[in-house]
Every structure is written in C-alpha cells, then in structure tokens.
Amino acid sequence: MKRNPLTLVIGILLIIIFGLWLFVFQVRTTEVAVVTRFGNPTRPITEPGAYGKLPWPIEKVWTFDKRVQNFEDQLTERQTRDNFTLLMAVYVGWKITDPAAFFPKFVSSDDPIKEAERQLDRLLGNAKAAAIGRHPLSDFISASGNGTNFVGIENEILTTLQSQVQANNYGLEIEFLGIKRLQLPSNVSQSVFDRMTEERKRLAEQLQNEGDAEAQNIRSEAGRKAQEMLATARGQATEIKGKGVAEATKSLAVFQQNPELASFLLRLNALEGSLKERSILVFDQNMPPFDLLRGGTTNWLSK
C-alpha cells in the first residue's frame, strides 16, 4: 500500500529522465550544432538553448565550437614588387558560422578545427603571396602615410581570404587578420647591418662636427655681445662725464666776478700740479722768492 506510489514516482521520474536524455539536447552559448538524420545534415542550430530530437540511431547531434579561433601561419618567403625578399606571418581570427556547410567538409577528420585550419593555411599562402607581390617594400615600411599602406595590405589579404572561404563554402567566417611578423632572410639582414653600421659612423661624425660648430658659434656670439655691452657703457660714461662738465660750468659764473684773480689762481694750481714729482728746477735770482739772494738782508731792508 505504501510502496506503490513511491515506486511509481521513482519510475516515472526515471522514465522522464531517460526520455529527456533520448529526445532533448542542449546547445551551449559557445557552440553551434547540426542534427543529422541517418547521417544526413537536416537542421543546423546556431542559437543556444534546449532542442528536441529523435533518438539515436535516427537522429544524431554534432556540436562544434563557434567561438573565435586563433590561427597563426608560418613565415613564408615572397618577393615584393621591387624584388625585395620578405618573410611574412599572419594571424587569423575565424569561427564556424554555418554548421550545415562546415559539417560535411570537415566531420570525417579526427579534429575538424585542425583540418579547417589546414585549409585556411593553404588559402592564406596564396592570398599572402599575391598581396606581397603587388606592393613595393615602401608600402610595408614607410615614415609617411601613418601606416595606412600597411593596413591596406592586411585588408587585401583579408578580402582575398574571405572571398576564397566563401567560394569554397566552408561554413566559416574570417573575423580579422593581421600581420604578425615581417622579416628579412638571414643574408639580407646581414647587409642591413652593414648599412646600419655605416649610417651610425656618419651620424657620429655629423654630431661631432655639429657640436663643434655650435660651440664655436656660441662663443663668438658671446664675444660680440660683450663688445656691444662695453661700447654702450663707454657711450654712457662719456655722456655722464659731459653732464658733469655741464654741471661744473654752472659754478664758473662765480669766477666772472674777478677774472684776473681766477686766472691767477688757476695758473697757480697748474704750477703746483705740474711740479709735483721728479722735477728739476732751474731758476735765477729774479724769481721770487730767490730774488732775496740778490742782495743782503740789510740791502733788502734798506729798500
């Protein structure tokens, strides 16, 4: 009496679980799926969620990762339009968008993603070769143009690859593509080194010469400036002295009161000034005060 409902519940639960397991499948948000009926792809599913299906062996579900895959190819060697040899490697972001188209082409492989990348690699080889051959080296590396040519080449490869992938109906989409490495063959890099060494030598000499010339320039400019300053100062000094003379002349008015005395005083000053040192005086008895020596004291007194 008590046993029956419990077993019933358990039984029904088990049947439901088993049924769900047989008839329902999930597609995760990171996946796409395709349902095959007797091996034939019938329903592609690109949106995540729970879906119904007929049980195996009638229908079978294949799921694939639909996230963006990273693929990097190997360095390949190609000639540019102006005959430089370039080695280039690119990276590609791609993803599965059409599981129904992807499934028949790659499902037979152990690793469909790897197999798809092998196909991409093949297409990429051609696309790269074509793009490199169309451009001179100066489109890859150039100080002008802000790298637009560089991006242009990437876009060319991308466009070629996209159209090829579409033409082959692989069920893939190329999300983005970029150049990862850009190099020169070993022997060419050696000659680049030689040229760089020469350039460095030239640059070192140039720097030295420039430095010398510039230093010389600074010095002579300083000399010129100094001369200028002194000349200005001399001019100012003369002017100042001139003003002094003008000011001093004002005092001359006093001397006008008695020019005779003024003249005497000036001469007296001049006399004293000119006989200050190392002078030899020769004079006779007519010169005062030596006129005293002409006669005796009494004589003078008698006068």
């Binding site: 046993r3 995760r28 948000t29 990171t30 969620g49 729970a50 996230r67 963006v68 990273n70 990097e72 360095l75 080695l87 490697a89 972001g93 890859f140 590396i141 100080a143 002008s144 143009g145 790298g147 560089f150 983005f176 150049i179 490495r181 020169l184 890099s189 680049v192 080194f193 350039e199 640059l203 070192a204 720097l207 430095g211 230093a215 600074i218 010095r219 300083a222 300053m229 200005t232 100062a233 100012q236 100042i240 002094g244 001093a248 005092s251 001359l252 009161q257 003024a262 005497f264 005083l265 004293e272 006989l275 002078s279 005086l281 020769v282 004079f283 006779d284 008895q285 005062p288 005060p289």
Partner: protein
C-alpha cells in the same frame, strides 16, 4: 469472570508467539524492508534537499558569474553578470550551468615577435646574450621589427589589461588572451613600420610607445575582445651585433652635449665679465663727474672766500700766494739748481745733459 477474561486474553497473547516462529523470516524481511524504505525515503529527501541546496553558490570579490540555462545565458548584457556579496541559486546541471570569470585581476601579455632569442635565465639576469658582429639573425628564432628607414631593431611591448566584458571574453573566443597578444604583436610591427630608428630608440620613445598603445587599443576594440587596456610599456634596443656602432653615436652625442655646456659656460663668463666691466666704466664716469662738480664747487667756494682778501690788496696777495706755492713746490722738487747772476751782470749759460731716464731704454 476473572479467569475468563484471563483465559480469553491469553490465547491471543499466546497466539502471537506461536505465529512468530511460523513466519519469522518474512516478518524480519518486512521489518527490514520497512526500515530500509524509511531510510530510503529519508535519503531521498536528503538527496532532494542536497540537490536543490547544491544550487546555492557565491561569487568571489574578483569574479563574476553567469548562469547558462540549457546552454543559454539567463539574461542579456550586464544583467547576466552576477556579482559578489549575495547568495545566488541556480538549478543544478544539466538545467543550469554556472560559469565564473575572474575579472579584477590585471592580465599581462607581452609581444613575442620583436625580440632576439634568449633563455629565461638570460631574461631574468638582464644581461643580453653576446652577439659579435657578423652573427646573422635567424628568422626562425630571433624576432625583430623593421623601421621606416629600413633598419632592424628589437622591441618588446608589455600590455596590461582587464576583462571588461566577461561574456564576450569567455564565450566569444577560444583563447582571448592569445588574440590580445596577436593584437600587441601587430601593433608593434605597425608602429615600427612608420618610425625611424633614432625616434624609436632615443628621440621619440614616448611617441612610439603611444603609437603601439593606440594601435593595440584600436585592434582590441575592432575585434571586440571584451578587454580594456590599462597600460602599454614598450622597450626597444639596437641589434646586439651593432652595439659598438650605436655606442659611438651615443658618445658623440654626449661629446656634443659637453662641448655645448662648455661653450655656454664660457658665454656666461664672457658676458658676465663684460657687464661687470661696463658697470665699472659707468661707475668711474659717475665718480669723475661727481669729483669734477665737487672740485669746481670747492674752487668756486674758495674763490668767493679769497676774493675780499684779494680786493683789499691784490699785489700783496699775489705775492703771498706765489711764495707759498713756490715754497711747497721747492720742498717737493727733487733737484734744485740756482743760477746766480755773473759778476758782469749778464746771465750765465748753463748746459744740461739729461740721461737719467734714457739710459734705461738704451741698453
């Protein structure tokens, strides 16, 4: 009555025990079944509780969680992200699936294609492995980039980023960090392709770094990687093979700097000297002027004082002044020669030979 009920009561009591030996096995079985069913029921209830309780989960401080119901995110956009600080609940698998993503951690990627081959030990020690001149670069192992002026240099960008859109980062890419790294590699290559070697290495290091960062950010946005770039640091060096040649330029640059510094200090000295000289010239002129004015004023003053005396007796005054002055002059004079009048009353002749000064000049 008393016995009867006893006797009546007893048979069932006695009848019980006789039954036991008869059906002991089945009774034990049913007992066991009953208790095991009880246990099963208990276990089932526990299981159901555990089943639903297992749906509770928390989110770490640096994490966000996303619930996938039947493989599909439960909500769209920002609402899909469950943060920390709350107890969350989801149906257990296979109905719901909880995906946790670390977001706060700063992630770092480094460009791989622009640097020469080195072992981790060499990297850690910071010593660059020697490469004498003439060692070629092997494209298979040695990375480098080409500059706009066809030079070869090594450069390495380290980009730090944070996951800003976890849904996109986790569900959009098989390996999003790898995609970030490719973007950095491409950015380094692209930036180098338009910079000249000296700009990258010395003149415009910041500009080059900015170009790398700009391109990396642009690619990351275009490819919608769901990350935000925090920082981009770029390190660039000349090829090891050309160390000497590049060092020469560096020392020439330093020499130039030194010459310029010396020239500038000479310039300072010359102009300072000149301005000091100029100042002293002016100062002297000013002193001269003041002196002259003062002298003249003093003389005028003296003249004014003397004038009354002179006017009283001009001849005597002149005589007195002259004598005083001559007296002073004679005291100072080195040689004094007095030529007296001859007996005949005629002046005498005197011949002088000056040689004191001139002997010095003619050896």
């Amino acid at each position: 009555m008393n016995d009867q009920p006893h006797s009546h009561d007893e048979p069932p009591e006695l009848a019980g025990p006789p039954e036991t030996p008869v059906d002991a096995g089945s009774q034990a079985l049913s007992e066991a079944l009953r208790s095991s069913f009880a246990i099963i029921r208990f276990v089932m209830i526990v299981l159901v509780v555990v089943f639903f309780a297992s749906g509770f989960f928390t989110v770490g401080p640096a994490q966000r969680a996303i619930i996938l119901r039947f493989g599909k995110p439960l909500h769209e956009g920002e609402k899909a992200l469950l943060g920390p600080g709350k107890l969350h609940w989801s149906f257990p698998y296979p109905i719901d699936e909880v995906v946790k993503v670390n977001i706060a951690g700063i992630q770092t990627v480094e460009s791989t294609t622009g640097w020469y081959a080195e072992t981790p030990e060499q990297r850690a020690s910071g010593i660059e492995p020697p490469a004498p001149q003439g060692t070629p670069l092997n494209p298979a192992v040695d990375g480098y980039v080409l500059t706009a002026d066809d030079n070869i240099i090594h450069t390495r960008a380290t980009l730090t980023y944070r996951i800003s859109e976890p849904v996109r980062y986790v569900f959009g890419f098989v390996n999003a960090s790898n995609a970030v790294q490719n973007a950095v590699d491409n950015a380094v290559l692209w930036a180098a392709s338009q910079f000249k070697v000296d700009d990258v290495l010395t003149h415009d290091v910041a500009g080059f770094q900015e170009a790398v960062r700009r391109r990396a950010v642009q690619l990351i946005e275009k490819q919608d990687l769901g990350v935000t770039v925090e920082q981009c640091v770029v390190q660039s060096i000349r090829p090891r093979q050309l160390k000497d040649a590049f060092d020469q330029v560096t020392s020439a640059e330093q020499g130039r700097g030194k010459a310029l510094i010396a020239a500038h200090s000479a310039e300072n000295q010359i102009t300072n000297q000149a301005s000091a000289d100029a100042r002293s010239l002016i100062k002297l002129a000013e002193i001269d002027r003041d002196q002259m004015v003062k002298d003249m004023a003093a003389q005028a003053e003296r003249f004014r004082d003397i004038l009354p005396q002179y006017q009283r007796s001009p001849a005597l005054f002149v005589q007195q002044q002259l004598s005083e002055t001559l007296g002073r002059v004679l005291t100072n004079a080195q040689d004094k020669i007095f030529v007296a009048e001859g007996a005949d009353g005629k002046p005498r002749e005197l011949r002088l030979l000056f040689n004191r000064e001139f002997t010095k000049r003619t050896p």
